[in-house]
Every structure is written in C-alpha cells, then in structure tokens.
Symmetry: C2
Subunit: 135 residues, 2 copies
C-alpha cells in the first residue's frame, strides 16, 4: 500500500462525489482545490477530497464558493501569519453567528409551515366530508 492509492483521477472523483469534471476544474480555477499533475492530468489527493467534502457541505448551506474558500483557510491555519489567522478567525465567528440566526429563523418557519399544513389538511378533510355528504 504505497502513497499512490491515495490519488484519484478526475473520473474517480466524479463518481465518488457526484460532481462533473467541469465542476472540479472550476473549483481548481477558483483555488478551492489543488490537484497535482501527472503530465497534463490531474490527480486528486486525500487533502483535495477532504476539501471537496467541505465545499459540498458548505454549498448546501448557501455559502458562496468565495466564502467557502475563506473558511477552508481555517484548515490551513498553520501556514498563516498571526494577523491573517485573526482575520480568518473573525470571519468564521461572523459566519457562525449568521448560521445560528439562520437556524433560529428556520425553526420558526418550520413551526409556522407545520401549522399551515395542519390547516390545509383540515380543509381537505372537510372537503372530503362535504363530498361524501353530497353523494
């Protein structure tokens, strides 16, 4: 078991994470991924895969790729100067606050939506009753 089974082709990546080649190349162009090259071809490392997972999850929360790129720097924290770290740290704090606000609103909306649904269900039920009575 060498280091090489740590590397994946673009197709393998696509299959594994359900994305297109275009997407992976796009992410590379945006400096979200840094696959190494074997000649022309891209080879994705374990690190790229970890990053991709975070990217995909980030997207599900509505983060922009640029925001995700900044968050990813948290994982590179050792590379940066202290001021940079502080900045990144602050960005993440803000994001966290945003997310918690979002969750609170989401809770509210879920509750209200559920009420709406109950209401709708009751109307449907009453309509069925009316229909039955008319038969």
């Amino acid at each position: 078991m060498t280091d090489s089974d740590d590397l994946m082709s673009i197709r393998q990546m696509c299959a594994a994470y359900d994305v297109t080649p275009r997407t992976l190349r796009f992410y590379e162009s945006k400096e979200l991924l840094f696959p190494i090259r074997e000649g022309q071809k891209r080879l994705f490392t374990k690190r790229d895969r970890a990053r991709l997972k975070l990217i995909l999850r980030g997207k599900r929360f509505g983060f922009s790729l640029e925001e995700i790129r900044q968050l990813l720097e948290l994982y590179n924290i050792g590379d940066q100067q202290q001021t940079q770290i502080q900045r990144t740290y602050e960005i993440a704090q803000d994001r966290l606050a945003d997310m918690e606000r979002q969750r609170a609103e989401l809770d509210e909306a879920i509750t209200e939506l559920k009420e709406q649904l109950d209401w709708g269900a009751k109307i449907i039920a009453s309509m069925k009753q009316t229909k039955k009575a008319a038969e």
Copy 2:
C-alpha cells in the same frame, strides 16, 4: 379609517421593507405580488405586504422565487380545486422535509465549526504565549 390607508405606494413599500422598486415590479412580473392599479400606478395592499414578508423570509432560507411562489399558494388554498390543493400540500410536505434535513446539517456544521474555532483560539493563545516567552 377607510380602506384606503391600507394601500401603499411603491416608494412606501421600498422604505418599509428595504427593497428597490425594481424588486417589487420584478416580483409582480413573477406573480408573487398583485398590486392593484390606480391609473398606471401600483398600489400595494395589506395582502401584498403579508406576501412580501413571506417572500423575504423565504429568500433567507435559500428558497428560489419559484419555490416561494408555490408555498404562497398555501395561503390561497380556498381558491383551488381539490387536486391542486393536494399537489400544493405535497410540495409543502417535501419542502418541510428538506428544511428539517437542512436544519440537522446546520446543527452539525455549527458544532464542527465551533470546534474548529476552539482549536484556532488555542493556537492563537499558544502563539501569544510563545511570543511573550521570546520577549
């Protein structure tokens, strides 16, 4: 207190909900709002304002305008035929499930992000210590 103080001009709407005229006209064109007309001019009713609030909240959760439009039909449930109601009802059920999944993921992400931040904070602290020691 007649019915007329129930009506707002486009500018009043913009001020009240922090949106642009363009946005309101756009929402109308997409059949999310239905302001009445006084000559050429739009007059927004209480109903439009209620809808706008829901639209803006929907957006904060990353719903598309089209999805929001469908959700808004829930509030119009009396107007529809039974099959239509059923469809809308199902759509809302699905959305609700989506939202709950989203919340679960959000909870997870918040937890992980918090851990990352703790980690970052510790590193920063230790760096300050090191710096102090060097002085």
